[in-house]
Structure formats: C-alpha cells, structure tokens
Amino acid sequence: MLNLKRRTAGDAMFDAFNVLIMLAICFITLYPIWFVLVNSFNEGQDAMRGGIYWWPRIFSLESYQAVFRSSGIMTAMGVTIAKTLLGTIVHVFFTAMVAYAFSRRELVGQKLYILIGTITMLFPSTLIPYYLLIRDLHLLDNFLVYIIPAMFSFFDLIILMTFFREIPDGLEEAAKIDGANDLSIFVRVIIPVSMPVIATIALFHGVYQWNDYFTGMIYINNMDLQPIQTYLYRIVAQSSSNQMASAMPGGISKNVTSQSIKLATMVVTTAPIVLAYPFLQKYFVKGLMIGSIKG
C-alpha cells in the first residue's frame, strides 16, 4: 500500500514537471513571434530605444500604412499570391493525374515509369546544369519559372499513389461502363473521393510556394516579378532596408524607420499562413501519416 502511494506521488511530480516543460516550450516557440508583432505595432522611432517586450509602448499603425502604400511591397505581394494560387492548382492537378495513371495496375510500362521516378530521387541535379536548363527553356525572368519547374514532385506522387491504390475498383468500373475515359474518371470520380490527401499536398505545396525565396532570387531580375519573400530576403540578408525607407513614397511620417517597416512587412507576409494554419492543421497531420506509412 505504502509503495503504491509513493509511486502516485512520484507520478504527480512527473506530471507537474512535464506540464512545466511543455509550457516552457510553447513560450519559447511563441514569444519570438509575439515580440515581432508588438514591435511592429509600436511607433518606429520609439521602438529603436528597445525595451518593448510584452505590449506596444506607443501604439502606431504608421509602419503598416507605409507597407501598404509601398508599390514595391504590394507588387511583390501580388506575385506571391498569384504564384501560390496558380502554382498549387497546377502542381496538385498534374502530380495527381500522373500519380493516378501510375497507380493503375493495368498500365503498360508501370514498372519502368516508377523506376524512372525512383532514380530521380537518388540523383538530385546540381545547381548549374539546372540553371542552364531554365535558361534554355526561356524561363529566366518569366513568371512561369514559379509554376512549370514546380508542377511535379515524385515524392508527392508516391503519397498520392498510395492513397489512390486504396480506392475500391468498383467506383471506376461503374464510370467506365457509362463510357467515361480515364481522364474524366480521374477528374469526376478520383479527385472528389481523394480530397483529404489532395488537401494535404495542396497545403504543403502552397506553403512552399508562399515561402520560397530562392527561385525569385536566382532566376528573376525583373523587380516586378519578384515575390515578397525574395523582396524580404534582400532586406534581411543585404540590410538594404535603409534604401527601402528612402525609396518609400513621400508623405510618410518621420516616426517610421526602416526597422519598423521591416517588421511590419514580416508580419504582413506571415499573417496569411498563421491565420489559415489552425484550420488546415488536421489535413497536414493526416497527410504526413499517409506519407510516413509508405515511406
């Protein structure tokens, strides 16, 4: 009896300790994001003095006004939104279409096609030959460089194919008897029943498109075609935010600094992901499970 009682006391200690550690991890995760948020809502000149940790000292929306008035930032934001929407739709449709064809047992050459794909995973291409290919395809300084080279992924294909193989054949048979061809079976039968896995792939690719800065940095020179992440990279990595502040349209208050504009731009860039995130969470966890069972 005594022994059992002591163990529950130990258990309680363990639980309390565990909860504390987990809360600490949550705090360490969230605080840096919170710090950026409160500083971006503080008046820029005042924020330079530092010491704003929990709440804005002098609340101000001027940095955000400057961000939304800057045509450079708004153009970059538009490019990001366009490439994320278009890129995700094309990637999901194309990869799923190929995955569906690869998943059908009667496909002549199925083994060869899958082998061709598997080899691509073992031999990643190096930077320069890839750059030369993009150049030869006339994709340099072309919006399509965000879409076409990213429209397919063999890794995503494996996840989708695993899912498609679980779909009962009866669904396809019924459509076939009605005279539908394979493409329309894919569009009208397969896509609707595969929404969970398609949503997962769409989410992953959407986040990739939204966050990718390298493509815009290396293949794009035209400033009107650079996405917001590339724009931010140039500010963060090359500390060119002074030029940015001076390039701002006139009529902006002196209270705004390059640093406060940088923080506000970071918040604007991240907000869509953070706001959409709780709603999308159930998809990516489920999708990662499908992937991990196979992989």
Binding site: L127, I128, M266, Q281
Partner: protein, 323 residues
Amino acid sequence: MSAKHGAELTQPGYNVRATGKQRTLLRRLLSQKYLQVMALLGVAWMIIFNYIPLYGSIIAFKQYVITHSIAEAPWVGLDNFKAFFEDEDLPRVIWNTLGISLIKLVIGFPLPILFALFLNELRSIRLKKAVQTISYLPHFLSWVILGGILATWLADVGIINHILMALHLIKEPISYLAEPKYFWGIIVTSDIWKELGWSAIIYLAAIAGVSPDLHEAATIDGAGRFQRMWHVTLPGIRSTITILFILAVSGILNSNFDQILVLRNSLNESASSVIDIYVYQTGIVNNRFSYSTAVGLIKSIIALVLLLIANSVSKKLNDTSLF
C-alpha cells in the same frame, strides 16, 4: 474484350502466338491511350527537369563557357575535380559542412524523440493538442522571416544583448551574426526552434501504434513512468528512429541551404561557407560553371554512397532498411 483476346490466342495457325502477343499489346495500349498520355506527361516532365540536368552534369568534365553550347565545350577530364581538391577553401568548406551537420545530428536528432516521448505522457488531451499545434507552427515560417527575427534579436540593440547586459554577463553588446564563432550555434539553435515539433509528428504517430497491452503488462510488473518510456515506448518506435537516422546520416553533406543563405554574411564567412553555399557562390556568383558542377557532383555521389552504406548497416544491425 478479354474474351475476344482469349479466342484469338487459341486460334490455330502459324506464328499466331507472336503476332497475337504484339496485337494484344497494341490493343492494350490503345484501350488505355488516355492513361498512357497521363503517365507519359509525367515521364516527359521528369526527363526534362531531372534527366536533362543530369546529362548537363557532364560540364563538370568540360570547360563550359556561357556563350557556347554544352556539346561544343572542350573536354578537360578531371581538371575541375583536381582544382577543387587543390583549392585552399576546401578544408574550411568540408569542416563547416560536417561540423554543422554533426552537431545537428547529435543534438537535433534526439530532441524530437524526447519531445514526442514527454508529450505522449501528458495526461490532458487538450493540453497535448494545444502543445502540438503550437510546436508545429514555426515549421511554416520561411527562413527569410526567421532570419529577420534573428537579426532583430541578435542585433547590438537587440533583446539578447539587453538581457545579458542587464545581468552584467557582458559589458559591451556583441554582434552575434558578425562573429564566426557564434555562427554554428545560431544555425543549430534556430533549426531546432523551427523543426522540433514538426520532426516529432512521425514519432508521435509511431508511439500511437505501440500496443497499450505492453504498457499495462509493464505497469503490473511495477514499472514506473520513466521505466515504461525507456523499456516499452522507446523500443516500440525503434524502426522509425532507424529509418529517420539513415536519412539523417545520408544527408550529412546537405546543409540547410535556405537557412544558411539568409544568415551568412561577409563577416561570418569563415564559419558559414558550406558545400551548398560554395556551389552557389562559385557557380552563380563567380560564373565558374564547370567547377561548381564538379563540386556539386562530388557531393551527390558521396551522398548516394552514404545512403547505401547507412542502409546496409542498419539492415545488418536492426533488420530495418529503406530499400
């Protein structure tokens, strides 16, 4: 359809089998023409975007100049590879690449496992869900954003210097990103901050698959919480750990390019130039196309060899392997 094929095949006649086979193949291809087009579009994409660059890697053995085609460039044998092995940057690049990767492997690899184990022990389901949701969040922030956050925190007037000076641990503010000696630490810490929760997902899934009967039996045998974590849960997810370890080891030459590109600068270069950055720097910035490709090719080959070795070692030790 199939009944028809069967009838054809059994018809008497000369060579009827061979022609029948050919005809059946043709018939099958025709009957699945949509399916074939769908599959071949994917194959065509892979040939263009994966296999043509693979062919383009032969410029590593040539002296390629941008004004001429790959085929026109003169062969130079292994000159580019020799140049790399004689380059004075080589030891530093290798040292940085392996150093950062090994620290990530030693610290960054076990932490998500520990996190998953402890998270799994939380009694409140709601707290568990909340911690999970919060811990996944940083994975979805880009390295550019994180670079911006770090630059703010580590600046001369940033929060880290504020705290350390308030505690009288330092007298003068330190420019962390300008000092090579802090670079590896910044890279490893920020990587753990970003990926801890996300990397734990797979382990949590594996832990959920461990049979509750085992836990019950261990409890009856008098095992405490730590003992059960160590002797029941951990062995239950061993094969998952093995597979992820194989992947981690084979990726040891892969630095997190996106991360380092954001955080490097000319002042911390001696600690931040890793192979991937070197390939980018020599190729895109300095236009040494053939040389950069040679370095990239060496890296790809070593990575493949490492993958095969790690895979076969784990097959022998653990009976778990990728392929």
